[in-house]
């Protein structure tokens, strides 16, 4: 195990497809990440940052959760999508900025634990021109190695705006 097994790798194809070429990608898988784990230190940082700790919140409702300490929260998995997109999203370029627009149909089919290796598979399902930019619907599947059911599925909506216009 090296530290690289605990990070999203960096794709050379990130932000190489300009906005006017997006239509050719609709319906396609646009990136798949490396397999990686989440380490205890980062999971704890996440817990602390959002007060999901006994020192500041009433965690008694969580006490009976099986293997709660080793569980990777659904919202941690969700939040890892941001950094995966930073390192891999193939659409963009200079002067193009991406806004977190929203989420639809988010599910957490399988419980995920620290020992699991996960990766993101992302398909572009829709791209719609709006007044403020290009609204992309990205179907995200967080797979768990050697498991049939994914850790998370979600439609992640990203608005791409070209600052030059």
């Amino acid at each position: 195990m090296t530290t690289e097994d605990y990070k999203w790798s960096l794709s050379e194809n990130r932000r190489t497809v300009s906005l006017n070429r997006v239509s050719s990608l609709v319906g396609q898988e646009i990136f798949v990440t490396n397999w990686r784990q989440v380490d205890r230190l980062h999971l704890d940082q996440f817990h602390w940052s959002v007060d999901e700790v006994e020192e500041t919140s009433d965690m008694s409702a969580n006490a009976k959760f099986p293997r709660g300490e080793e569980n990777i929260d659904g919202f941690m998995l969700l939040s890892l999508v941001t950094s995966a997109f930073f390192n891999n999203y193939p659409i963009g370029g200079e002067n193009v900025i991406a806004w977190n627009y929203g989420l639809d149909r988010v599910r957490f089919p399988a419980t995920t634990y620290l020992e699991d290796r996960i990766r993101l598979c992302v398909s572009l399902t829709e791209a719609v021109q709006k007044d403020s930019g290009l609204l992309m619907t990205n179907h995200v599947v967080v797979e768990i190695e050697d498991k049939e059911r994914p850790a998370m599925v979600a439609d992640f909506l990203v608005m791409l705006t070209n600052l030059e216009k």
């Binding site: 990130r14 980062h42 959002v50 007060d51 999901e52 919140s57 009976k64 919202f75 900025i97 600052l163």
Partner: protein, 165 residues
């Protein structure tokens, strides 16, 4: 001003038995205290979720006009955890919630460091499930001095009771 998320009022919250929750559909379940979002917490969240320069290509964010003063949308989503841990009245001794689904997540207004937010939570649906009770709430995260909220989300939690184990 407290750093403690959404107060500890949950310690004294009245209990609604999961089996009785259906009688409360349509009711507001809770409104949290105001919570300030300081830089230290937002940076901790970014480290925890690998959305920082050591772990991800953050170049895209450098051109973003709202820049690093902006609080990440998925951090707002994640803050629903302490809001509910500390305030949601539905539960009974030994019960726990599994993060089941999110729908209709939108970020109407951007949030910046130092802004204050609070969660207004309404019970919108209760459904039987083979492993417990599915409880859906409509969550509006209000932004102080802003007409538009910074987050709206429908969140479904599978409440497992002692009887369902």
């Amino acid at each position: 001003m407290t750093d403690i998320a959404f107060g500890m009022r949950g310690k004294m919250r009245p209990q609604i038995q999961p089996a009785e929750a259906h009688a409360h559909v349509g009711e507001e379940l809770f409104t949290t205290d105001w919570l300030v979002l300081p830089r230290s917490r937002v940076e901790q969240f970014r480290v925890g979720t690998f959305a920082n320069e050591d772990d991800a290509d953050m170049d895209q964010c450098l051109t973003n006009p709202v820049g690093d003063e902006n609080v990440d949308g998925f951090m707002l989503v994640s803050l629903l955890l302490p809001a509910h841990f500390n305030n949601n009245p539905i539960g009974e001794p030994g019960s726990f919630g599994l993060n089941y689904a999110l729908e209709n997540v939108r970020f109407p207004a951007p949030v910046f460091l130092g802004n204050r937010v609070r969660v207004v939570c309404t019970l919108t649906n209760v459904a039987e499930h083979s492993k417990g009770v599915l409880v859906t709430t409509h969550n509006v995260m209000e932004l102080e001095n802003s007409e538009r909220p910074c987050l709206v989300a429908d969140w479904t939690v599978l409440v497992r009771t002692v009887n369902s184990l």
